[in-house]
Structure formats: structure tokens, C-alpha cells
């Protein structure tokens, strides 16, 4: 295919796509004018029916909780896939690595980064727990809290060395936490089945509206989701960091030993 033909094909296809898009956009309701029936209805019933003041959480973990189970396992499978693809292999750490320059030390972390990172870590972790625990009351929930918690761990790495993280957790513990989180969600859902109603149907007392211990099973689910997301993201980070930093270090130690031996 010559570039001329290619250009003609693109122009025809692009023109048709543009027409379709303009046609579709013209049919959209005006900005802010769309008030779907479901949204209006859920806004009115969720507080009374479920004792949940954050309607987004009510939808995600109750009214369409089954979809969220699916989303959880998409994340689970994605993390699993990355961990599998980037697993340390026997040949790695030896041979030619072009991402390592000899005779150059890694610059130390600056004091400013150290202070800022260490200062920010406790509030970040606390905020993450707050977001997870108050998922059914204020915006946030297991997913948001989980990613924030993972950021706290990332701050520790930024403020120090990679080795500081190894004292904090092991890869095995992360894998287990992720599995417990994902399985916990399903287990909480099965409580409904065990009580004789549907999967993820609430069977726990709804409690006082606005209290942390209310809204039935939703806080439990948020806890599981928070655990899974945080562990999964930290596992992702650890895998990537291992690929870029630890392997490089391995090569360096091997080179220095081979340099020293003759």
C-alpha cells in the first residue's frame, strides 16, 4: 500500500468517524441536564434502605455489588499477570545489562526528600485508614483507601532505600494479604447465601445512620477491598522495583567480584 492510498483510506475512514461522532454528540442531553431515573431514585432510597450516606458506595458495594466482585478480580488477575511476567528468572542478574553504568555510585537521597517523605508517611497512612473506614459515610472506600495506603509505602521507599521496605513486609505476606482481601469479599458475599437470601444481600444489622459501625456488610467489604488493593499495588511496585534496581545491584556485585578475582 503506497502512502497515497493509505492517506485516502484514512481520510475516508476518518471523515466517516468524525460524522458519526458529531451526530452522536448532537444527540446528547445538555451539560448537567441528564438526570437518569436510577440516579434520582437511588439518591432518595439509599440512605433510608441501607443507612449509607455515600450513595456511590451504596451502588458499588450493595446495589451492584456483584459487578464490583468482578472488578476486584480483574485487578487481582492483572497483578497476578504482572507478577508472573516479571518474576525473577534464573538467567537474570548475569550477562549483559545495558542499564548499568560501571564506576558510578547511585546518588544518595537528598535530606529534603527524606524529611518530606518521612513526614508525609504517617498522615498518609492515617488518611488511608480513615478513607477505608468511612467509605459508607463520606466519599472514598476500599479502593481509594487502598491506593492511598500503597502511596504511603511508596513514600517510605522515596525517603530512604529499597532495603527499608524489606523490613516492612515480605513478598509472601503481600501475596497472602491480596488473596485474603479478594477471598474475603466473596466470603462476605456468601454470608448472604448462608442466611438464605442472595449473594451479597445484607444480613448484618444496619446500625445507627452515620456511625462508623453501620451499613451492615459494606464496611466489611470495604476493609477486604482496601487490603486487596493496597497489597496488590505494593506487590506491583515491588515487582517493578525488583526488576530495575535489585537485578542491577546483583550485576554490580558480580562484576566487582569478577574484577577483583584476577
Amino acid at each position: 500500500m503506497t502512502s497515497r492510498v493509505r492517506k485516502v483510506v484514512f481520510l475516508v475512514a476518518g471523515g466517516m468517524l468524525a460524522l458519526l461522532l458529531v451526530w452522536g454528540l448532537a444527540g446528547l442531553p445538555h451539560f448537567g441536564a441528564a438526570h437518569a431515573v436510577d440516579g434520582t431514585m437511588l439518591n432518595q432510597v439509599s440512605v433510608r434502605e441501607r443507612h449509607i450516606t455515600d450513595v456511590v458506595t451504596a451502588v458499588n458495594f450493595d446495589y451492584r455489588g456483584f459487578d464490583t466482585v468482578g472488578e476486584e478480580f480483574i485487578f487481582f488477575a492483572a497483578v497476578l499477570g504482572v507478577a508472573l511476567l516479571l518474576r525473577p528468572q534464573s538467567g537474570e542478574g548475569s550477562g549483559h545489562h545495558n542499564d548499568f553504568a560501571t564506576g558510578r555510585a547511585v546518588p544518595p537521597t537528598s535530606d529534603a526528600l527524606r524529611v518530606l517523605g518521612l513526614g508525609l508517611t504517617p498522615p498518609t497512612v492515617l488518611f488511608a485508614f480513615y478513607i477505608v473506614a468511612h467509605g459508607h459515610l463520606t466519599p472514598g472506600g476500599g479502593f481509594q483507601g487502598g491506593v492511598i495506603l500503597a502511596t504511603g509505602v511508596l513514600l517510605i521507599y522515596l525517603a530512604g532505600e529499597l532495603d527499608d521496605l524489606h523490613g516492612l513486609y515480605t513478598e509472601r505476606a503481600l501475596e497472602r494479604s491480596e488473596a485474603i482481601g479478594a477471598g474475603g469479599f466473596v466470603a462476605v458475599g456468601l454470608l448472604g447465601v448462608a442466611a438464605g437470601s442472595a449473594f451479597l444481600e445484607n444480613v448484618l444489622p444496619l446500625g445507627q445512620l452515620g456511625s462508623v459501625f453501620s451499613a451492615g456488610m459494606v464496611p466489611l467489604i470495604n476493609l477486604c477491598v482496601g487490603l486487596e488493593i493496597a497489597a496488590g499495588l505494593v506487590l506491583l511496585m515491588t515487582t517493578f522495583l525488583h526488576q530495575t534496581i535489585v537485578l542491577r545491584r546483583l550485576v554490580r556485585t558480580r562484576r566487582t567480584t569478577t574484577d577483583a578475582s584476577p
Binding site: 553504568a101 481509594q144 491506593v147 506491583l236
Partner: protein, 79 residues
């Protein structure tokens, strides 16, 4: 549409264009991170704080970090 909404929508448009026109992947990761923050502000302005919270972390921190680490891995020896 309030002026605030117009401003942030225009900024998101400009930011997205900047991401596309930044050709160096290293810089693109940084620009994409800023774009993630813009998106988070947009979600907040459009009254979706739940989405904004996850967008801040995923769009502005996690995604650029993965890109940076991958870049460090695949082209560290270019200099």
C-alpha cells in the same frame, strides 16, 4: 456550566494535547502525571470526589511510576 467548570474542562483539553505532543517518553511520563492531577481536579469540580481520590493516586502517582521504572529498565544505557 459555571466558569470554574469551563476553566477546568479547557485545562484538561490543553493538558491532554500536551501529553500527546510530548514525544520524549521520559518527559511524557511527567506531563501525564500533571494531566492526572488536572483530571482529578475536574472530577472534583464535577462533584465526583470518589473518582477524584482514586484518580489522584492512580493517574498522578502509580501510572507515571510504572512508566518511569519501565523506562529505567529498557533504556538505561542510552546516555
Amino acid at each position: 456550566m459555571t466558569p470554574l467548570q469551563v476553566t477546568i474542562l479547557v485545562l484538561v483539553g490543553v493538558g491532554g494535547t500536551c501529553v500527546v505532543f510530548t514525544r520524549d517518553p521520559l518527559r511524557q511520563a511527567m506531563v501525564a502525571s500533571l494531566f492526572g492531577i488536572l483530571l482529578a481536579i475536574m472530577f472534583f469540580v464535577l462533584q465526583a470526589p470518589d473518582v477524584a481520590l482514586s484518580e489522584i493516586v492512580v493517574g498522578a502517582v502509580a501510572l507515571p511510576l510504572m512508566i518511569l521504572l519501565s523506562l529505567a529498565k529498557i533504556r538505561g544505557g542510552e546516555r
